[in-house]
Symmetry: C2
Subunit: 129 residues, 2 copies
DNA sequence: CCTATGTCGATGCAGTTGCATCTATATTGA
DNA sequence: TCAATATAGATGCAACTGCATCGACATAGG
């Protein structure tokens, strides 16, 4: 049930984003992390750890986002192997415009079907897993 | 949180199946449906409706499963456009060998972390969505 | 200092997915 | 009956994913 539920939800969110001409959900997660990281940005491997993405996935996702101008990438001074990625102004705007679309699907798919107490309880149960 | 939880669970299941030299989880769902459908099998579009898969995804998934010998495909007599797919003996065996691997991950990831009452409650909440 | 090993990130390749479109057959209705 | 439309399933193409591996730099141990 968990699988079916979340897959359906995911598809709805992706479809809503696409219909609004916005990037996929994974980009939202990245933008949110980078926004939280502030101006100093963060290392790709840290992003990978936070979002539990595979290393190669992170590398290529960042590639695309840099190309799209949502993320800035610069060489890391402390570590010659590494780099620092940070969100651009355009990235901030994009994230902001994604949120209402994302949120609306969640509200209509979850908020409308569960009472607030149930939603809290669901969150509590899921967090234990 | 729902997304993160289910994605992690999914990855664990896929990894366990792969480690056991077994096909991916989607194949399990198909095999289970076909096994329930019995000897008459079922139409691909019906499978697509039940599993909520895209049409092209169903077509290609069945291609691979037929190639792997887990599914039999024959032309449909009633409808010249259509076909009938059904599970083969090998498919039944494969599904049977997948179940314990699948189940074990669920038990260790869910059963071990939630009490039976919590699990029931979780299922109830998810079913409302 | 130098070699061995570990970590960071990139990439070639094969397999998979999404999208749009196609062919073939079925159904509807004038 | 025949044209218009709808449905079943396949497929070319571009994008994306997983896997294995690579090259570059970092760090530890002798």
């Amino acid at each position: 049930m968990l699988m079916r539920t979340s897959r359906g939800l995911l598809e709805d969110v992706e479809a809503a984003l696409k219909a609004a001409g916005l990037p996929p959900l994974a980009w939202y997660d990245v933008l949110l992390e980078l926004e939280k990281a502030g101006n100093e940005g963060m290392r790709p491997f840290e992003l990978k750890n936070r979002l539990l993405l595979p290393q190669y996935g992170t590398s290529r996702l960042l590639d695309r986002m840099v190309t799209a101008g949502l993320v800035d990438r610069q060489d890391c001074e402390d570590d010659g192997r590494g780099q620092i990625v940070s969100i651009s102004d355009s990235g901030r705007e994009t994230r902001a415009s994604m949120w209402p679309v994302y949120g609306k699907v969640l509200v209509t798919r979850i908020g409308a079907k569960l009472t607030p107490e149930e939603a809290i309880q669901l969150a509590r149960l899921l967090s234990k897993i």
